[in-house]
C-alpha cells in the first residue's frame, strides 16, 4: 500500500487534468508576472481567511514565497459593520490596509482582480498577467445569487435596496437611508435561507437598526422577512433582547421567503404573492462562494459552495487548490470571520506540511462570535471543532451561547474585534 508521495501526486494530477481550466484561452495570452524561482503559495482574497493563511504560511516556513492577491487596497470588516449601521461605530474602525502585514511577514501583495485560474498549469490569471503557484489558497468570500430574486438588477438595485452584506459603501448607504428616513417609517430586512455568511448577522442588524430607531425615530418599525422558519442563530437571546429593549418595534415573520423585488415601488414579494412595502429595504440576497471559486472550478455539485478535505481544506475537485472561509463547506464550522481565521491556520499548517513532505495534522478549530443587542449589551456563541470520520464536527459537550445579554459580553466583543483585526493587519 506504499506509494511514495511523488508518484501519488503524479497520479492525482493526471486524474484531475482538464478540471478547473476555465479561462484557459485567456491564460495563454497572459504575460507572467513575478517569475517563480523557489516554492510559492498564492493566496487569493485578503479578508479574514486570506490574510491569516498568508501570514501563517510565512511564519511556519519562511523559505516559501507567499503572494497575496487582493483587488482592494483596503479591507473593511463585515463583523461590527452592523454597529456602523446603528451609528455606534465609524467605518474607519473596521478598515485596514496591508502594508504592515506585508512588511512584517514578507508577503508579496498584488492588488489586482483574478480573472481565471488554470489549475493544469498552476497559474492564477489576473488583469495584469499570470502568477504561478505550487499551492493556491482561495479565500474569496461570498457573491450573491441575484438571479433568484425576480426584478433584481445587480447593477442598479443595490443602490436602492442595499444588501450591506459586504462591508464598505453598502454599509454606509444603508446607514444614510436610515438617517434620511422619516420618523414613523418602516424598515424591511429580508433574510435568505441558510447557509449564508454570518448566521446571526441579520438579527444583529435588526437589533442595531432598532437601537438607532428607538433613540432617534421611535415611531418607526422594523419588519423582518426571514426565509428560514425561525431565527437561525442565538434565537432565544435575540428574542429576549428584542423583548427587553425593542418591544413593539420589531415584527419578526418566519418562513417568509422573498422571491421578487420591486425597487421602483419600494416593495418585495413573499413567495411571489404577498407584497410588503418599506421605506428602507435591506434585501440580503441568497449567497454562494465568491466568483473566483467558480473560475477555479472548485464549486461543488450544489452549484454554490466548495467541498474540501476537512483537514487540509484542499478542494476535493481540483488538486493543489485549497478553499477556506465562507466559500467552503466546513461541516459544523459556521460561515463566520473567526471560523475563517481558524480554518486559515489549519490550511496553512497542512499546506506547509505537504510542501515539506510531512503528514497533515488533524484540524483543531474554534469559532467565537459576538452580536450586539444594544450599544452596550451583547451576546455570544462559541464552539470548538475537530474532525470525526472525515467531517468537521463540534466537540461534544462544548460550546454554545451566552446565558444572557450583558455589558461584559459587549466589552469582550470590542476586544474580539481589536485582536482579530490586529492578527490580520500585522
Amino acid at each position: 500500500m506504499n506509494v511514495d508521495r511523488r508518484s501519488f501526486i503524479k497520479l492525482l494530477s493526471l486524474s484531475t487534468a482538464g478540471v478547473g481550466s476555465a479561462g484557459l484561452s485567456m491564460a495563454a495570452r497572459a504575460a507572467e508576472l513575478m517569475p517563480k524561482s523557489g516554492r510559492r503559495v498564492v493566496v487569493v482574497g485578503g479578508g479574514y481567511g486570506g490574510t491569516i493563511a498568508a501570514k501563517y504560511v510565512r511564519m511556519m516556513d519562511p523559505s516559501i514565497e507567499v503572494v497575496l492577491i487582493e483587488r482592494n487596497r483596503q479591507f473593511v470588516s463585515c463583523p461590527f459593520s452592523n454597529l456602523v449601521i446603528g451609528g455606534e461605530r465609524k467605518i474607519s474602525d473596521l478598515t485596514m490596509g496591508y502594508d504592515k502585514l506585508a512588511a512584517q511577514y514578507g508577503i508579496k501583495m498584488v492588488f489586482d482582480e483574478v480573472t481565471a485560474v488554470d489549475a493544469e498549469k498552476k497559474e492564477v490569471i489576473t488583469a495584469g498577467g499570470s502568477i504561478k503557484y505550487d499551492r493556491l489558497i482561495l479565500s474569496p468570500g461570498i457573491d450573491f445569487r441575484f438571479n433568484e430574486l425576480e426584478g433584481y438588477d445587480p447593477a442598479t438595485t443595490p443602490a436602492i435596496m442595499p444588501h450591506a452584506w459586504k462591508a464598505g459603501e453598502q454599509t454606509l448607504l444603508l446607514r444614510k437611508q436610515l438617517e434620511e428616513m422619516k420618523d414613523g417609517g418602516t424598515v424591511l430586512i429580508t433574510v435568505p435561507l441558510t447557509p449564508y455568511r454570518c448566521p446571526p448577522g441579520p438579527y444583529e442588524r435588526t437589533s442595531m437598526v432598532a437601537w438607532y430607531l428607538k433613540n432617534h425615530k421611535p415611531k418607526s418599525k422594523i419588519i423582518v422577512l426571514d426565509a428560514n422558519p425561525d431565527i437561525t442563530s442565538k434565537a432565544g437571546l435575540f428574542r429576549k433582547g428584542w423583548a427587553k429593549h425593542y418591544a413593539g418595534m420589531i415584527e419578526y415573520r418566519g418562513a417568509k421567503k422573498v422571491t421578487a423585488v420591486n425597487p421602483a415601488g419600494m416593495s418585495v414579494l413573499v413567495e411571489g404573492i404577498e407584497e410588503v412595502k418599506g421605506d428602507v429595504i435591506n434585501v440580503i440576497p441568497p449567497q454562494r462562494a465568491g466568483a473566483i471559486a467558480v473560475k477555479a472550478g472548485v464549486v461543488g455539485p450544489d452549484k454554490n459552495w466548495c467541498p474540501v478535505n476537512a483537514i487540509t481544506f484542499e478542494s476535493t475537485l481540483v488538486k493543489d487548490v485549497h478553499v477556506i472561509g465562507d466559500a467552503c463547506i466546513a461541516g459544523a464550522m459556521p460561515k463566520s470571520g473567526y471560523s475563517a481565521n481558524s480554518e486559515a491556520k489549519v490550511c496553512a499548517t497542512n499546506v506547509v506540511a505537504a510542501m515539506n513532505g510531512r503528514e497533515p495534522v488533524e484540524l483543531s478549530g474554534i469559532n467565537t462570535c459576538y452580536s450586539s443587542i444594544t450599544a452596550k449589551e451583547a451576546v455570544s456563541v462559541a464552539g470548538v471543532y475537530k474532525v470525526d470520520q472525515g467531517k468537521i464536527i463540534a466537540v461534544p459537550n462544548s460550546g454554545g451561547v451566552s446565558p444572557d445579554l450583558s455589558e461584559l459580553e459587549a466589552i469582550y466583543a470590542d476586544s474580539w474585534l481589536r485582536n482579530i483585526m490586529a492578527e490580520m493587519s500585522a
Binding site: 506509494v3 497520479l11 486524474s15 511564519m59 495534522v361 488533524e362 474532525v387 472525515g390
Partner: protein, 197 residues
Amino acid sequence: MKHARSKWSRMLVVGATMLAAVAGAQGAPATPEMLSNACAGCHGTNGVSAGFSMPSLAGQNRVAMIEAMKSFKSGERPSSVMGRLAKGYSDAEIEAMADFFAKQKPAPSEAQKVDLALVTKGKTLHERHCKRCHLEGGKEFDENAAVLAGQWLKYLEIQMADYADGKRKMSEKKAEKMKPLSRDELQAIANYYASVK
C-alpha cells in the same frame, strides 16, 4: 507495453485508495501549535493580545494556565466564552497548549493608560501582599502564580472584580493576602501590574 499498462492500472487503484483516505481526512494528532493557533484570534498571534479584556498568554506560567483552563472547564471560574471553549479540550490538550504559550516570548506590553498615583500605591501593596508568589513585580512566579506584569489593565480589573464579588474562588493562601484588600486597593494593584514592563 502490456506490462506497463497493468502496472499503471495497479497504481491507479492504489492512487484511488489513497484519494479515499485523503477524502476521509485523517492526519497526525493535533500538535500544540495547531491547538494553540486557534486561540490566537482572540489572544493574539503566539499569545500576544491586542484586545484589552483578553489576556496575553505568551510567557505565562504553564501551571497557572492549566489551572485556569481546568477551572474554566469545570465552571468554577466565571467567564464569557472561555468556559464554553475549555469544555472542548481534554486535559492533555490543555497541557499541550499551556506548554506552547509558556514558551512564547512575551512582547513588550503595548502602551496602555494607567493611573500613575494608583501605580505607586499598587506597588506598595504588591510588596506587602503579593510579591512572595508574584515575583519580580509580577514578571516571574512561584508555583501556580500567574505572570501579571504588563498584562492588560481591563483584564486585571475584571479579575479583581470577580475576586471581590466572590465569583472567582481563591486558594486559602491567596485569600489570606487578598481578603483584607479593599476594591480601591485591588484597583491600585491592577494598575501597578499593568504598568510593569
